[in-house]
Point group: C2
Chain length 276, copies 2
């Protein structure tokens, strides 16, 4: 039996004075795919279908960045330091060349890491994310989602209100709450405050010529939801138009959590991209 996101033991590695929690799935050979998570998300906030299906034919590494969940250290208040922490973690594990899957805030880190050489990055997947200077509505949509008192805040936050989307949303939440044993604790304000500052700061940083995007030379796959209220889909189109190596995919009737709404399709698209 291979380990799954729900069953893999949490392991730890020390890097740059921080004890990082991580889980490894899939084969030992091949270019590892490292997942980088969204605002306040822990390892347990990933979709098991996405993690386990991608691990069917490649190594997958899931981790908590500094200050998050079961990792030590303090959550930085800027993307640059978060990227440095992720690079330290990847190098401490000795992963060598990696592929990166960055979702939302994690996609900011992937952009930074791909453009510099602390880690050798082969390909990047940018899901539900935005470029420097991008359009974000984090505080409004988070406050609005919490005001709805849904059973899980991700139901209104990550998925549009259509019946089909909300059904997919509930299925995602059910999958992502299967693990009970050795589960990451939910994030508190020591995570959400500096992460919110990082997101707002990244989108406030002006980069009118998109020099940051143009510095990315690796093949990139941009995946977005049609009706992402946090980072509107125009971000994805603008990123695509300013990257010479990017493929753009946007799904219908979907929001910030598009990759969890259509997990099988997303996995097929990621495999097609990584194996091309």
């Amino acid at each position: 039996m291979s380990a799954t996101l729900e069953t893999a033991p949490t392991e730890y590695v020390e890097a740059g004075g921080i004890r990082f929690a991580y889980r490894r799935l899939g084969s030992k050979t091949g270019v590892p795919l490292v997942f980088m998570q969204h605002f306040t998300g822990t390892m347990d906030a990933w979709d098991p279908i996405v993690a386990n299906s991608l691990a069917a034919d490649r190594p997958v590494v899931i981790f908590n960045n500094a200050g998050v969940g079961t990792s030590g250290g303090k959550t930085p208040d800027n993307v640059d330091q978060m990227a440095t922490d992720a690079e330290n973690f990847i190098n401490a594990l000795g992963l060598g060349e990696v592929d990166l899957l960055g979702f939302s805030l994690g996609g900011f880190l992937a952009q930074v890491m791909a453009a510099r050489s602390a880690v050798k990055v082969r390909k990047i997947i940018l899901a539900g994310t935005a470029p420097k200077g991008g359009e974000e509505h984090l505080m409004e949509v988070v406050q609005d989602a919490f005001s709805k008192n849904a059973p899980d805040v991700r139901l209104p936050l990550f998925f549009p209100p259509s019946d089909a989307s909300q059904a997919a949303a509930r299925a995602f939440v059910a999958r992502a709450t299967v693990r009970k044993n050795d589960r990451d604790p939910e994030s508190g304000e020591d995570v959400s405050n500096p992460q919110a500052a990082s997101i707002i700061g990244w989108c406030a940083e002006q980069d009118p010529d998109h020099a940051s995007l143009k510095a990315i030379k690796q093949p990139a796959l941009i995946v977005h939801g049609s009706d992402d209220t946090m980072f509107p889909s125009i971000n994805a189109y603008e990123m695509f138009k300013n990257m010479s190596t990017a493929t753009l995919i946007i799904y219908p009737d979907s929001g910030h959590g598009a990759l969890f709404q259509y997990p099988e399709t997303f996995v097929a698209h990621v495999k097609t991209f990584l194996d091309a």
Copy 2:
């Protein structure tokens, strides 16, 4: 040995007083995928990789619309009549429910046919195309491409000038010219003039609320090249934004012939879409 685009015999069927030339590939069972071709293109202008790979697990039907290549009849000067001709052909073959792959001008037909019920359409793929009222530069880019005296006008017309794109372009042209026996004749002005009028007329037709797109209820896959000079990629994004059922995919460093530049990736994306 199954038939391939290069080896399948040309067959004929009579419908609405017109003798249509067609070729059938792939299995007899499953929803047939009907290809609808670009400006001046015949059956032999499709990419064998695309046709044969899609035919590996479904019926594929390739045909010449009225007036084109080895088909009889006269090329209409409007999209609506072309769509009617295609519907007559599909019904004459008794195909029942179909999927449509419309490239460029063929994508206009697919939009019309999906929104009405002369043929039962399950899913549509819109490659390198534009909505009613879309942005087109047909005459300029065709004249510019012919002025380059390239060995094949599709090299400058369908592919950007980068080394990688032009290498892919030459490989496509080599694949698409393998067939010598029973090959369709090249189109003359009796095809290009009314087809040009149809394209220009379609894009001149104003549809500010995109009622035509909103009338399409089937799942749709929109595929486009990043640097399509004939129908700029903003057409694809605008179509996507005005369809509730569409997935958008845009490839990097590619032009009008993006589906022939990345044939394996395009086939994988189409299969993922049709099988979802």
